[in-house]
């Protein structure tokens, strides 16, 4: 920084602190802080996490290979419970992704500035979560190499088209659209940051960043168009994210099974998805901010804001649980009642009560400001949210299936070691991707931090004047 730069910046410094930054980093310091993890060798903490994630991923690869080679019989599914761990994992991972889109798209439309520091990593989380989710229907096919059968392509079997009336097919379109639009949004958001990194790098890195930055030069004409593009993509992603989990819920709601056949499902699933996603964002960011020393950018105020969203969506989820039971009682429908009473008192009651404790009761402590501003408490709570929301999907799927209309079909479902290994593997895949992301891509949107910091500086000047 030239002396003149420093003088001008000092004169522009304002008395008021930044709302969403701790400290007052200059624009070039923002670049330094964000680019640092990309240039230095990872520390012991990162290597430990990475080794654990790789081990989990390896477990998953072994289990999936065994399942594909042997058959779906290696899972604990039976004629009655035809969906269990795989679809639970699928819905769980898709749900995780929703917080990323909420932060990057919906909060952008609402002009919430606190999203700036966390939107990049939340979007990354979305993409990795959707990839993990897509894996489960794929391996459940048994012959995953025939996955293209789900696409309506011209074929020699008629052409026999896919069944456009099936929610499972809607899912195929919803998930693929969601993944594609999220990827575009994520990549477009990174182009200016790639350009910043390109102009500081040398050698092979400069060449690589040069390719991915597409010749970006910070022209205001491009910036103006760029902001229009961001707003349009956000406006498209907002209804998209709501549609995705609504469609996922229709996989169940469109059937006639008691416990599934309810109009409450779409909003209930969307709220649950955002809730579980914020749980995962909190887990990831609490780890990341200390692991990568980014406390300046991901402040306790960010965590508190996320805790408030968690409280809101957790309460909606709690209300949905109550509504389901009320409807079962009020409908007077014997089968509906049997399913819900069975959930609370049957063989899977421990899953149900753990779910209620984690999802409906635990988040209520977030009414207290002391809990919302305690990193340790938030971390514990975020893990509880993850456990609770995984169990929620398990409860909805398995308890509804295992005791339905015909007593002669009633059975128990128990997962096999292969299914557990596959679940562990999906966590391994997710964390491997996320840890690599932290080291290979700018995990904080530098240009958005700079835009916010300079706007705040100007406002500070006006207030000062």
């Amino acid at each position: 920084m030239t002396p003149l730069h420093a003088t001008i910046r000092d004169s522009a410094r304002h008395v008021r602190p930044h709302r969403w930054l701790d400290g007052d980093p200059s624009l070039t310091e923002v670049t330094d802080h964000v680019a640092r993890p990309l240039n230095v060798a990872p520390g012991l903490g990162w290597w430990l996490c990475f080794a654990t994630a790789l081990a989990a991923l390896a477990t998953g690869v072994v289990c999936v290979s065994y399942e594909v080679a042997t058959g779906i019989g290696t899972w604990g599914l039976n004629k009655t419970v035809g969906w269990a761990f795989d679809i639970t994992n699928f819905v769980f991972w898709i749900g995780i992704g929703h917080a990323g889109t909420l932060i990057s798209a919906i909060l952008l439309l609402f002009r919430q500035r606190w999203r700036t520091s966390i939107n990049r990593s939340a979007e990354a989380m979305t993409i990795f979560a959707v990839i993990c989710a897509a894996l489960f229907p794929l391996i459940h096919m048994g012959r995953p190499w025939l996955f293209f059968f789900v696409a309506p392509y011209p074929n020699f079997r008629g052409p026999l088209w896919v069944n456009f009336r099936s929610p499972l097919l809607w899912d195929v379109f919803a998930i693929n659209t969601y993944l594609t639009i999220s990827l575009v949004f994520w990549y477009v958001g990174m182009i200016p940051d790639f350009a910043t990194l390109r102009d500081r790098a040398t050698g092979i890195r400069k060449a690589l960043y040069g390719i991915v930055s597409l010749g970006w030069n910070g022209s205001q004409r491009t910036w103006a168009r760029y902001e229009t593009l961001s707003t349009i993509l956000a406006a498209l992603a907002t209804p998209l994210v709501i549609s995705v989990h609504s469609i996922v819920s229709m996989d169940f709601a469109v059937s006639i099974l008691p416990g599934w056949h309810t109009t409450l499902f779409p909003p209930y699933f969307v709220a649950g998805a955002v809730y579980s996603g914020f749980g995962m964002v909190l887990t990831l960011l609490i780890l990341t901010r200390s692991l990568m020393h980014l406390e300046t950018y991901i402040t306790i105020r960010h965590l508190e804001a996320m805790a408030k969203v968690t409280l809101l969506t957790g309460s909606i989820v709690g209300l949905s649980y109550a509504t389901e039971f009320f409807t079962a009682w009020f409908s007077g429908n014997l089968y509906e009642q049997a399913t819900f009473y069975g959930r609370a008192t049957g063989p899977y009651a421990w899953c149900f009560w753990t779910m209620v404790t984690c999802n409906a009761v635990a988040p209520q402590v977030l009414w207290l400001r002391r809990v919302r501003t305690s990193v340790a408490a938030l971390f514990v709570l975020s893990i509880l949210v993850n456990i609770g929301m995984w169990l929620e999907r398990f409860v909805i799927i398995v308890t509804s299936l295992h005791h339905s209309y015909l007593p002669s079909t009633w059975v128990m479902y128990r997962p096999t070691i292969i299914e557990v290994g596959t679940l562990i593997g999906s966590f391994g895949l997710f964390f491997t991707c996320f840890l690599l992301f932290l080291r290979l891509l700018p995990m904080i949107a530098m240009w958005e931090i700079k835009a916010d910091a300079s706007v705040e500086a100007e406002e500070g000047d006006l207030a000062h004047a």
Partner: protein
């Protein structure tokens, strides 16, 4: 475009804004402004037209919507009718989710593609930088040099008055 430019650099968006307003008020035409982040309000100050990307989204969305609903109708009603649970061949309501997804998909991809095309961004494009730090912490204004219509002294005075760190006249490709 390779040409001779007068390039002034600033440390913050405030000074940049002052300079843009002063130049425009004195009738200078600004070639472009370069910044590490979007500067709010500068589009109006520069007199930039509102982006028309929204029309591309509309066109893409309509294309997606029409083709998705038409294809599902054709496949389910004309080409190969399937009796699923006695539902009518033309179960329009059941076609809505996929139609919505395709509308969003085509609309979004068309908008992104139009943005890249219009802005000349593609892999391998050479960045035409107004200065080494315009993607880091410097804000720059570029005026295209045309000796016949350009009062250089006046332009320099305005640029400096707004608080320029540096004003230089140079031949570059922008």
């Amino acid at each position: 475009m390779r040409s001779e430019y007068l390039i002034a650099t600033y440390a913050g968006p405030g000074a940049l804004m002052t300079a843009v307003r002063a130049l425009r008020a004195h009738g200078f035409k600004i070639y472009d402004v370069y910044a590490p982040c979007p500067v709010h309000g500068i589009d109006e100050a520069m007199g930039l037209r509102r982006s028309r990307l929204g029309y591309v989204t509309l066109a893409g969305g309509v294309l997606g919507l029409v083709s998705a609903i038409a294809f599902q109708f054709y496949a389910a009603v004309f080409d190969w009718t399937l009796n699923v649970g006695g539902k009518p061949d033309n179960s329009t309501l059941a076609f809505v989710p996929i139609t919505f997804e395709i509308t969003v998909l085509v609309g979004g991809l068309a908008t992104a593609a139009a943005f890249f095309l219009r802005s000349g961004l593609f892999p391998g494009a050479r960045p035409r930088l107004a200065g080494p730090r315009v993607t880091d912490d410097e804000f720059a204004i570029a005026l295209r040099w045309r000796s016949s219509v350009f009062d250089a002294g006046e332009a320099r005075r305005l640029l400096h008055e707004a608080g320029a760190i540096d004003v230089r006249q140079t031949v570059v490709d922008l």
